[in-house]
Every structure is written in C-alpha cells, then in structure tokens.
C-alpha cells in the first residue's frame, strides 16, 4: 500500500503528492475549472485511501485530456475519443486496477460517444469523469454536442442551433450505475461523488461543469471565470435523485446538480463469469492476472 497516511514534511499542499510537480505549470488558463476538479479528485483519492499504485487515469484529447499528464499515477493520454475503449482493455486485462477515465465533453460525447454508451451498456467497471466546458477548448472554442442553444462559438458565429446532449440522461439511459453532475463551484460535493465512484463497482459517470473564460465566457460576454463561479452558485439547484430527463442544461437556465442515479447492476465481469460457469462449469478457466514473462 502506498496510501498517504502521514504527509511528508516538505509537502505544502495535501494534494501535492498526487501531482507530477515537475510538469507544473500546467497548460490550463486562469479561471479554468479543470484544475479544480483535479484537486477534488486528489482529495477523493486521499479520503478513500486508495492504493495509488493500482489507480490508473486514462484521458483522451483536449484540455481535460491533459489531466493524465499531471497526476502522479500510471496514466495514459490516448487518442481523441478513445479513452473509454483503452480503459476497457486495461481493466479487463488487469481487474485489480481502479481505472478512471478523465476527459472532456467533446472527447467523450462527440468523437467518443459510441464508446460512452457501449461501455455503460456493458457496465464495464470504469469511472468516467467528464469535464464539460460546452466547447472544444484546445482547438480554439468550436461548438460541440454540449453547446447550449444560441451560444456563440468559433464555428457557430451566429449562435448554436443544434440541440445539445443532456449527458446525465444519456449515461443513465445507456445503463450507468452511478450518474452525478456538479460544477467547479461544488468542490465538496464533487469530491464526495468521486469518493463514492472510486468505491462503487460498475460504470460510473460524473459530469462537472467548468468555466472556459478564454473561449466560451469571453465569446458569450459572460465575464471572467469568477463570474461563472458566481453564476454556478446562484443558478445551481441540488436535486439528488432527480429524473435525468429533467436535468437538461440551457444557456442561462437553472443548473440542476446532484447525484441522479445510484443503483446496482451486475458488471461486465460478473455477467461474463456467470454465463461461462453456467455453460462450461469446471471447464471454464478464469482469465489469470496477466503476465507476459
């Protein structure tokens, strides 16, 4: 076990041991909420006393995709949209790992949308943390499947007119066993949700809203990062257990946050094991912990 029980003396911030400090400063802009979510994630690891040698972070491409590069864990920065299938292979090859997919809304729900719904359907035992800033930020603020109607982005200069995804409803409908939404303002609640999913078996999905003052707020004249935090504070309504069909986001509507889904369903490995035992009995050889000699 390498769980930190007593902090080393030279450590000044309790989350510092979770970060690759030699890679700091990070690339995120002032006012961006991604770093806040990473702070919550580190605190969740600390609270749950996870064996850090067994926690793996897998990211796709984009601003949130860079999280994998800053956490002092085994971490994979994969291809655009494919963090979930990579994580699926990793988890199935070594079930003792706690596999966390940490990526953005465009990566997970546009280019990677197919993998999101199928991993939820299979109930693969991975935890997905989706930071939603409503745009593709890394490439300069283009619109995506989460961009609210009428929002201005670099590829919707006259305002977005495509309906957007309600991500909690998507994850819920596809079969996720845990679905929550928080914002960068809700650091304690977000930390609690992260702690819960680290201990929960099956496909878990946490959406976290984040300001992107450089590209989203600025283009939409919504002020600085701090103004967005104030907006989150004023407009957020905690409704734990709310039907996910009622939590869609609009441009300036109320933001319904909370833990919407927390249920039990056999995960992929349990279903596989049950079916093979039923069909093959003692001829079934369970996959050994992988080792290539």
């Amino acid at each position: 076990m390498s769980t930190l029980e007593v902090l080393p003396q030279e450590v000044t911030n309790p989350v510092e041991p979770f970060l690759r400090t030699e890679r700091i400063p990070h690339i995120w802009c002032p006012g961006c909420g991604i770093g806040t979510t990473v702070n919550s994630f580190a605190r969740a690891l600390l609270e749950t006393r996870m064996d850090l040698d067994k926690v793996v972070v897998v990211s796709g491409i984009g601003c949130t995709g860079r999280v994998a590069g800053y956490v002092e864990l085994d971490s994979f920065h994969t291809t655009h949209g494919r963090a979930i299938p990579f994580a699926t292979g990793l988890k199935l090859a070594n079930p003792s790992l706690t596999v966390v997919v940490y990526s953005g809304d465009g990566d997970l729900s546009a280019i990677g949308g197919n993998h999101l719904i199928h991993a939820a359907r299979r109930n693969i035992d991975i935890k997905v943390i989706c930071v939603n800033n409503f745009i593709y930020a890394m490439t300069g603020g283009q619109s995506g499947p989460t961009t609210p109607l009428t929002a201005t982005t670099s590829t919707s200069p006259y305002g977005a007119y495509e309906p957007s995804f309600n991500l909690p409803q998507l994850a819920d409908a596809a079969g996720a066993v845990y679905v929550a939404r928080w914002t960068a303002f809700h650091v304690r609640q977000m930390t609690r949700s992260m702690s819960e999913v680290l201990k929960k078996k099956g496909f878990c999905f946490i959406e976290t809203l984040s300001p992107c003052p450089t590209l989203y707020e600025r283009r939409n004249k919504l002020g600085e990062g701090l103004d967005t935090m104030r907006h989150y504070k004023e407009k957020s309504k905690v409704r734990n257990g709310a039907p996910t069909s009622e939590v869609a986001l609009g441009m300036r509507d109320d933001i319904i946050v909370g833990k919407f889904v927390d249920r039990e369903r056999p995960d992929y490995s349990e279903l596989l094991h049950h079916q093979m035992i039923t069909q093959l009995g003692d001829k079934y050889v369970e996959a050994p912990a992988c080792s290539c000699g």
Binding site: G69, D74, P85, T88, S96, L97, P288, G293
Partner: protein, 393 residues
C-alpha cells in the same frame, strides 16, 4: 543497459493444441495467437477475417483469457492496446474497411511502443469492395497507412500452416521490437483448408515481454536498450509512469520541440531498420543461374509456383523469391539478385504496389515487370507465364 538478446521461452501449453489438424488459415492464425501466448483479443466482425475471433471466442474461456467484441474497429484497435499495458499479449483481426479505421491506433501503438499484432485478411477494395473475395491491395497501407513517420514489420503467409507458424513469429517480433506487427493474410489463405501441424509447447519458442528490470524510480519506459528498444512496465506495478501519443522524452513526458521529435522518431525508425537484414525472411528456389526471378507473396506465390514450373518446361531459367517478410522490404536481397539476372517479375493482387519496391531496390541493374490484378480471384498461371516469357527475351 542490459543485453537485448533474450532467451526464448517455451510456449504456455494451455494455449497449444498440439497435434495434426485440418484447419483453414483463419483458424490456424487463431491457434498461432493462442500458442504465442495471446490471451486477449478485441474484434469487430468483418468478412473474411471473422473466423479468427470466432474461434478465439470459443477457445479462450477454456484457456484463460478474454475476448471482447467491441462496438467498432476504432474501439477494437485501442482496447487491445489497453490490454497490453495491463500486462496481456493481445491482438485484433480485421479486413480492408476495418483496417482503414484502425490506422490511427496503429500509429498510436508505434508511437507508444506497444507490442501487439494486427491481422488483416485482405479482400478486394477500395471501400467495401469484394467482401468475400481475395486481394492484396493493403500492402502499402500496412506500411504507410497511419500518419507520420515510423517503420513497420509485416508478414505474409501463403498457407494455413504458415498462418500458424508466422502468427507466432509476428507476436515474437512485436515483443522483441516493442512495436505493432501487421499480419497480412488474404481471403484465399484465410479460407483455404489444409493440414496444420502444431508442435508440442516445448518446441515453440516465445519471445518474452521486455519487462522493466529496474525498480520503480530507476526505470524509464522509453529509455532504450542497446538495440534501441526500451523495456516496459505495466500499469499497476508501482512505476507510476505516463504514456502519451504526443512526442515524448524517455520518461514518457510530452516535449514539444524538434530535438525530442528527432531523437524519438529516429529511434522508432532505426530500431527496426538496424535489424532489417536479420529479420527479413524469404524463401528462394532455383535462383542460381536464373535469368528471371519471380517475386511474390501470400496466395499469389502459389499461383506463381505453377507459372514458374510451366516456364521451366519451356526451357526458361526462372527462379523463385517468396517474401514472408514484406516490411521491412528485403531491399538488400533484391539489390544483390539484380546484379546476376535479367529481370524480375512481380505478380500481385493489386494494381502495382510491391513491384515498385522491387524496381526501386533493383536500381536499374535488372528490369522489373509487374503482373497487376485487381483482385476477386487469383491470377491465371498463364498470365504470369506470359510476362515471364516477355521478361526472358
């Protein structure tokens, strides 16, 4: 620095179906993968390759391992890479359209030095083409299909027996060089049924994973050994490493500068180029004193054999050079042969791919004749014979 030449290990008997079998090439490929120690496959159905994973799905629960059918080839081709970093030996299987979708992850595997095997049972293209009929039109795609610079290893079997033998070899090369290996079958070889002899496990040599030998803190996942290939740690072993498809340094950390790019890309290319001569496998026959050498691979080599025999009956001096390794291309072999012969004849089930490599390597020392064919069936031996006769004049 440890010595990169490593002892081969015996195959794990759990995956070796020792005995004499009557198998098609697809099934033999699956048995080769199991014998090589592959315990993870991710696939997506596509004709004419699906039989490989169908057999794997049937066999693996009794061997101990995992098969997962993914939602598409994009997923399949990276799920296997996740499994490798989790400690498994893994592969995927596809055909033309699926191979096109997998290109990004072939590049990701090359960049992150993830040992794995991609099997492509080639069918007629472009696009959906001829799903159940043969071609060899993906030979250049196997070499160059993903963006950027990298070096590739690709093998080409011409019988079910070779589908077994060379699949093991493909895994061994992938482990030795920490690189993806393309296993380029074709519909005919995949669906042809012949005798396949599977030896006992202790007669099958397996190249073990180049696993980190130093403890966490002292090991770097991208610091090369003398042969330019680094050793790798798996996730969950306490190394706390980072892997990225971005240009990276020896630690695996992104480094966006031309110096790191040059160091990394040169090494990725050179680790295979340096060993090219030794890893190239060809079969030659009747080369001595030949005027014409027929260069072929895969199913076309079996048609070429007939054409060569017909030509010899007519008194022509014809040699045979069959490429088991197509990439890296056996250029040195071709160059040496070119000095002593009049011409090369290169039949292939495409409109001219490997023929250009032969011509390049021959460097004008011998003439080069292609025998193009768009696929859908194999050549008629007479079509190859005609070109041999023309080349011998």
């Amino acid at each position: 620095m440890k010595n990169p030449t490593r002892q081969l290990q015996h195959a794990d008997p759990a995956g070796v179906l020792t005995g004499t079998h009557f198998l098609d090439g697809d099934h033999a490929c699956c048995e080769g993968a199991l014998a090589a120690g592959a315990r993870f496959a991710a696939g997506y159905p596509i004709t004419p390759s699906t039989e490989v994973v169908e057999r794997f799905a049937l066999r693996i629960p009794k061997v101990g391992g995992t098969f997962i059918q993914m939602e598409d080839e994009l997923a399949a081709s990276i799920t296997l890479l996740g499994a490798v970093w989790g400690g498994a030996k893994a592969f995927t299987v596809t055909s033309g359209p699926g191979f096109s979708l997998m290109m990004e992850h072939i590049g990701y595997a090359a960049m992150t030095e993830t040992p794995c095997v991609f099997v492509n049972v080639q069918r007629g293209g472009p696009s959906t083409g001829l799903p159940t009929l043969p071609a060899q039109g993906d030979m250049m795609q196997a070499r160059w299909g993903s963006h950027g610079d990298y070096e590739m290893i690709a093998l080409c079997p011409n019988s079910p027996q070779e589908c077994f033998d060379l699949t093991i070899h493909a895994f061994n090369l992938s482990e030795r060089f920490r690189t993806p290996v393309m296993f380029m079958m074709d519909e005919c070889v995949g669906h042809m049924t012949e005798k396949v002899v599977i030896p006992p496990a202790d007669q099958i040599g397996i190249y073990p994973r180049r696993h980190a030998v130093r403890p966490p803190g002292e090991h770097l996942n991208f610091e090369p050994d003398e042969d330019l290939v680094p050793a790798m740690a798996h996730a969950g072993e306490g190394y706390r490493f980072h892997v990225t498809g971005l240009t990276h340094d020896e630690r695996g950390y992104p480094a966006m500068n031309p110096e790191t790019q040059d160091r990394l890309v040169r090494r990725l290319v050179n680790k295979i180029r340096m060993a090219a001569e030794e890893l190239v496998q060809v079969e030659e026959e009747g080369i001595e004193g030949a005027d014409v050498v027929v260069v072929s691979y895969g199913i076309t080599s079996r048609v070429a054999q007939k054409a060569i025999e017909l030509a010899r009956e007519k008194g022509l001096k014809v040699g045979k050079l069959r490429l088991l390794t197509v990439w890296p291309f056996p250029a040195a072999k071709i160059r040496a042969l070119a000095r002593g012969i009049r011409a090369f004849v290169v039949p292939e089930l495409n409109m001219g791919q490997i023929v250009n490599e032969v011509e390049r390597a021959a460097g004008g020392a011998a003439r080069t004749y292609g025998v193009p064919h768009a696929g859908g069936t194999v050549h008629r031996p007479e079509a190859i014979l005609n070109v041999i006769e023309e080349a011998a004049r």
